[in-house]
């Protein structure tokens, strides 16, 4: 069936022959009548009457130009101006070159010269014009989104790829638009308002595309894709015209968000370019203003990198790519600094990316809960290391490990820590837990309970990053902690600015009031060390003494400590 339609054979179409000469009408009618049904008109006026009467079924008009009453040019102009009649192809019958050009300009699809060509030629031209027109109409019907008149997604992507092929050098922007809470607009105000909104958006989009080689589609429901030559004025054009929609549709509050991937990289798959615009768009979720966000390649690379790291965690844990390093903490108030304990710090030796800073992957794993698995890994490694040192040197170097927010809410936390102690034949006193200050302030009652139980078990708990959170003095007095660890940010500038040093003194006062020792980390210089010692700080951790070390190197610090104790 498809084949029959394709070649215009088998199915008789209706063809109108318009000519004022009877002989010409008879002759053409006879030729065309071999394959199609023919109707006739002998002037332009009669032709238009017939065309309107048969507009649903008419497949072609064969049109003479010079006729009494109304000429062929007038018929052409009238049909071109009418959206319904424009779809009917017209072949002009003429003997003049000038007339051919003019009639093609007026929308004729072809011409047949007079005296007429041989019938085979005439039939071939007729069939080709009908086929072209029907194909065009099939495509038109298939390519349009009936609601908005924009392309549908498939044709949009097809034409956008074509655009890339023919204009590879033109910088293009990929844009995604959608309506905030569109489903609610539909639900609250009815589908017709929702549809009206989408049509209005399409009109604004049309205006933006006008005169450019850009194109647009409704991709689904309330999402539009635009692909157009790069420009910088979206705020003043598209966005302001979209913002103006609000208030034009009754009480409904309409806000629209846009994601723009400017100068989209054409080596990236087309649909992925729109994914990127969509990503920028989704960053505006929860922003209930008409607004526009731009896709940033750097940001995307970071996200990709992060996503890869997340995917690599299982392998990394299995292959022990994570190594625990130890940074010593020294008690400084005596005659000489005494090695008091260490902090376990994780390092990731990635087979592809090399050593990855914990500053990169820890915030990432905190976001999705993976941090808990990492914490558990460190807890076990650190406990095993304490055991090894104990066996090797006969002394305990307590190691502090991080307990993240998610761990605190883990109902098995105490049980797991107990097991780790058991397996490594350690007592909780030999193990230190660090909990960041902001965890206390976020979930104070839960944390206070958990910390209290851990301390009852014998663990010592250090409040990490003290000074960076927002602990109230009142809360501090009720906190069950064993040490305050000053936030590194305060230490950095104590030797430079009086204010920072005063802050540290204040925190030391608070610690004294709470009767807990203070640990300063991030200490790098002699000057910082002397200031902190003078101010009464108890314990110091930082490059001033040592960077974080792998266990075998840390051994030397223990050996030095032992030899100093003995001398």
């Amino acid at each position: 069936m498809q084949e029959i339609f394709r070649h215009g054979q088998g199915l008789r179409r209706k063809v109108l022959v318009v000519d004022d000469e009877l002989i010409n009408r008879q002759l053409l009618g006879m030729i065309v009548g071999q394959e199609h049904d023919v109707i006739y008109a002998e002037n332009g006026r009669e032709a238009l009457r017939q065309i309107r009467k048969h507009q649903e079924t008419l497949s072609l008009v064969l049109l003479d130009l010079l006729m009494p009453e109304m000429d062929g040019y007038e018929v052409l102009r009238t049909m071109q101006a009418d959206a319904e009649l424009r779809r009917i192809p017209i072949i002009v019958l003429t003997s003049e070159k000038d007339a051919e050009v003019e009639s093609l300009h007026l929308g004729a699809s072809d011409f047949i010269p007079k005296p007429y060509d041989m019938p085979e030629v005439i039939m071939a031209r007729i069939d080709r014009s009908i086929e072209l027109a029907e194909d065009k109409m099939t495509i038109r019907e298939a390519e349009d989104d009936p609601l908005t008149g924009l392309y549908n997604k498939d044709f949009f992507l097809h034409y956008a790829r074509q655009h890339d092929r023919y204009e590879p050098e033109t910088p293009m922007d990929a844009i995604v638009l959608n309506v905030n809470r569109f489903h609610l607009i539909n639900e609250l105000y009815g589908r017709s308002l929702g549809d009206g909104l989408l049509r209005t958006m399409a009109e604004k989009i049309h205006l933006l595309l006008n005169g450019t080689s850009g194109l647009a589609c409704r991709s689904d429901s309330d999402t539009f894709y635009l692909y157009l030559p790069h420009r910088e004025d979206y705020e003043s054009t598209l966005m302001s015209s979209l913002a103006a929609i609000d208030g034009t549709l009754g009480h409904a509050k309409i806000t629209i968000r846009a994601g723009v991937y400017p100068n989209a990289d054409k080596s990236v798959d087309l649909e992925q370019r729109f994914d990127r615009a969509n990503l920028a768009c989704s960053r505006l979720r929860g922003n209930y203003l008409t607004a526009c966000a731009y896709y940033d390649t750097r940001l995307h690379d970071q996200e990709l990198y992060a996503e890869r790291l997340i995917g690599d965690v299982d392998t990394a844990l299995n292959e022990k790519q994570f190594k625990v390093f130890y940074q010593p903490k020294y008690r400084i108030q005596g005659d000489r600094p005494v090695l008091a304990s260490a902090e376990a710090l994780i390092r990731w030796f990635h087979p592809v990316h090399g050593m990855i800073s914990p500053g990169v992957f820890i915030p990432l794993f905190e976001e999705n809960g993976l941090i808990s698995r990492l914490d558990h890994y460190v807890w076990q490694e650190a406990a095993a290391q304490i055991r090894r040192w104990k066996d090797q040197y006969g002394l305990t170097i307590p190691v502090s490990v991080n307990v993240s927010r998610v761990d605190i809410f883990d109902p098995n936390l105490e049980q797991e820590l107990r097991e780790i102690m058991l397996v490594n034949r350690l007592s909780p006193e030999e193990y230190l837990l660090e909990i960041t200050e902001s965890a206390y302030t976020d979930h104070s009652s839960q944390i206070i309970d958990t910390v209290a139980r851990l301390r009852e078990m014998g663990f010592r708990v250090e409040m990490d990053d003290f000074g960076s959170g927002y602990s109230s003095l009142n809360m501090l007095t009720s906190l069950p902690i064993d040490a305050l660890k000053l936030d590194m940010g305060f230490i950095r500038n104590i030797a430079k600015t009086e204010k920072d040093f005063r802050m540290v003194e204040l925190m030391l006062d608070i610690a004294r009031f709470l009767s807990v020792p203070v640990i300063a980390e991030g200490v790098e210089t002699e000057e910082q060390y002397q200031l902190l010692k003078g101010a009464g700080c108890d314990i110091i951790q930082g490059y001033y003494f040592s960077k974080p070390l792998p266990p075998e190197e840390f051994n030397r610090l223990i050996e030095k400590e032992l030899s100093e104790r003995n001398s």
Binding site: I23, L27, M30, L66, P115, Y116
Partner: protein, 112 residues
């Protein structure tokens, strides 16, 4: 009664004319029916006499189409020539061409 032979004798390109009619002889000959009593050649002459070149062009143009489609070469050629002159509104003596057309028309009428 017009026949293919008489048309051939007249000088028509019968082969071409027939082909245009998909070799349907009867149909081709029937097309000549409407030429019986056709006064347009006389009308053309009158328009030229009145120096109404617009009207003359319209008539010549129409005749050219018909004679061409019927492959009536002896009429088609002078009519085409006069049509082009009239299209350009050429100020010339149309007498000789008109005489040729009239003569050929009379010959054709004799066949009809």
């Amino acid at each position: 009664m017009i026949t293919l032979d008489s048309l051939k004798a007249y000088g028509a390109n019968v082969e071409e004319g027939l082909h245009r009619c998909m070799n349907m002889e009867a149909f081709y000959l029937k097309l000549f029916d409407s030429l019986k009593g056709d006064t347009r050649v006389d009308d053309l002459q009158a328009a030229l006499a009145e120096k109404n070149l617009d009207k003359a062009f319209e008539i010549a143009h129409a005749l050219k189409g018909i004679y061409g489609n019927l492959s009536l070469t002896p009429l088609y050629e002078p009519v085409q020539e006069i049509t082009e002159l009239l299209r350009a509104r050429t100020d010339t003596d149309y007498g000789p061409l008109m005489a040729q057309i009239l003569e050929q028309k009379q010959k054709l009428d004799a066949l009809l």
